[in-house]
């Protein structure tokens, strides 16, 4: 589950035209509301909100969402720091890069869910092990993109650093980091959307807390309106996150013309 090639269609027509694209979704929900005949499996959307309200008053919903958000943000933060710094090191050492690439290919391809039991057995259940799994699972696109971009920084740029007698720190902050920034950002976008999926998987398998666990628990208790409600919240979050990341990426790539993405 590495990356989807981003092929978001460019905006066509006037602003808010994208709202038209939501028509099928709206029709689906409306039809569901009006024609629902299977309240056990497909309760009408209006009942989802009643269940969500109940979960709110029981003080279950917000702590679960908060816990997931904290896991996600910490995991992503660690993945960015580790991925960018390791990527810079590996990208500047071609021999090391080549030597580690089979191992990294294996680790990157490792399906995330199987990391959960192993990690829990070794580190126990808790925020720490959840964050570890999320960070480990999503660090690869950031690391590999950064390494590839570091490897391909044009020699003219590096030469000009030498000509200007930049020290190692100035070379890093003035030449290397600006050069790898767009590619690293692409990695971060991929990592972020993977991160939501990973956070949920970890919570679903390890149990205990978070939105993923709440989803499983609602289903196990046959509270299907509650389950659909939580799914809606997660879906809207995923949608908005993706929208925000696409915007950021577009802005970054526009401000860095020429240094094309390495994704």
């Amino acid at each position: 589950m590495s990356a989807e090639t981003p092929a978001r269609p460019r905006r066509e027509g006037p602003r808010l035209a994208w709202l038209r694209g939501l028509i099928p979704l709206a029709l689906l929900l409306a039809g569901w509301q009006l024609l629902s005949t299977d309240p056990l499996r497909f309760p009408p959307p209006s009942r989802w909100f009643e269940s969500l309200q109940l979960l709110m008053t029981q003080d279950v919903l917000l702590p679960a969402l908060g816990h997931s958000l904290v896991t996600f943000v910490l995991g992503l933060g660690i993945a960015i720091v580790v991925g960018v710094s390791l990527g810079l090191v590996i990208g500047s050492l071609p021999r090391v890069d080549r030597a580690f690439s089979p191992l990294f290919d294996f680790l990157r391809g490792l399906p995330v869910p199987v990391l959960v039991p192993v990690t829990i057995l070794l580190l126990g259940v808790g925020l720490g092990s959840s964050v570890f799994i999320v960070a480990f699972a999503i660090v690869w696109p950031i690391l590999l993109n950064t390494a590839l971009a570091r490897r391909t920084v044009s020699s003219v740029r590096m030469d000009s650093a030498r000509m200007l007698k930049f020290g190692p720190i100035a070379t890093l902050t003035k030449i290397v980091i600006p050069s790898v920034f767009p590619a690293a950002m692409v990695g971060v976008r991929i990592a972020a959307s993977l991160g939501v999926i990973t956070t949920l998987v970890v919570e679903m398998i390890s149990g205990g807390r978070g939105a993923g666990f709440l989803l499983m628990e609602r289903q196990a208790r046959f509270d299907s309106p509650g389950m659909w409600g939580v799914l809606l919240i997660i879906g809207v979050f995923g949608f908005l996150l993706n929208l925000a990341l696409a915007q950021i990426e577009r802005r970054v790539l526009r401000n860095h013309p020429g240094s094309a993405s390495a994704a």
Binding site: E12, L19, R20, R41, A99, F100, V201, Q219
Partner: protein
């Protein structure tokens, strides 16, 4: 064999890369054997290998592997059917695109794993649940890549088709699909790999079969050697499946291989 060819073969085999993996395993073995790393549930690679050998000898590993791989490929095929068809329509017709894009974006960006309990609710603990979840996950990368490939077909190809008076089916089969083939294959590879991951999630959570369930049952039985054996088998399966798909693409579309390998 010329020395240039030998050097190229050596380069392709990447001896330093193999050395790193062997060194990592040896380090692991030594650290556990000398009790430098003494975690209760961390067996040495040799113990894991013995357990894996027993699983292979009993045939259980192959049964589980067959289930997971079969589900993955079936889900990939369903995802390919839906994804390629919808992707072509989406790429060709602007009106269709206009009135569906945001909805497709919504369904595409639902974190797929959140659908596992939904499948459980609707189909219960069954192969059906597993296949549906995996196929759903496989559909989106295939759809998006197909649409992207179709949209980037240069207009002059359509002009050529018009000059040749191709009818619609011929236009589709002789112009659109071949021109978008490379992107479609990228999508297929991503889709199948995604299907494998979701099949394993479903096996771990709702459908007690296959390699995913092997991991969970080993965890429940507190047999770390078996847990690690299944975990590494899954890792190896994912790795080989990806390599195999890259290889297939290279055969199907020679020349595009490099871009394919990079486009992850």
């Amino acid at each position: 064999m010329s020395s240039a060819r030998a050097a190229r073969l050596l380069h392709a085999a990447n001896p330093s890369g193999i050395l790193v993996i062997v060194a990592a395993l040896a380090l692991w073995q030594i650290a556990v054997a000398t009790r430098l790393l003494d975690l209760r549930y961390l067996p040495a690679p040799s113990e894991i290998a013995v357990e894996a050998g027993a699983l292979i000898a009993s045939g259980k590993l192959f049964v589980d592997l067959g289930h997971t791989l079969g589900t993955t490929l079936a889900a990939g095929a369903i995802g390919a059917g839906i994804g390629i068809a919808l992707g072509i329509v989406f790429g060709l017709f602007q009106t269709f695109r206009l009135y569906t894009a945001s909805s497709i974006d919504f369904f595409r960006t639902i974190p797929v794993t959140a659908l596992v309990p939904v499948a459980m609710l609707i189909w219960g603990p069954s192969n059906m649940s597993e296949i549906v979840v995996a196929a759903y996950a496989a559909t989106w990368p295939i759809l998006i890549n197909t649409a992207g490939g179709v949209r980037s077909i240069p207009t002059r190809l359509y002009d050529v088709a018009a000059v040749l008076r191709l009818n619609r089916p011929a236009l589709l089969m002789k112009v659109v699909v071949p021109a978008a083939a490379q992107q479609i294959l990228v999508g297929l590879r991503l889709g199948i790999v995604t299907a494998l991951v979701l099949a394993i999630v479903a096996e771990m959570l709702i459908n007690p079969r296959g390699l995913g369930w092997g991991v969970i049952s080993a965890q429940n039985a507190l047999v770390p050697e078996r847990l690690w054996a299944y975990t590494l088998t899954i890792g190896l399966l994912a790795y080989l499946l990806n390599m195999f798909l890259v290889f297939l693409v290279r055969i199907a579309l020679p020349g595009s291989a490099r871009q394919m390998a990079d486009a992850r």
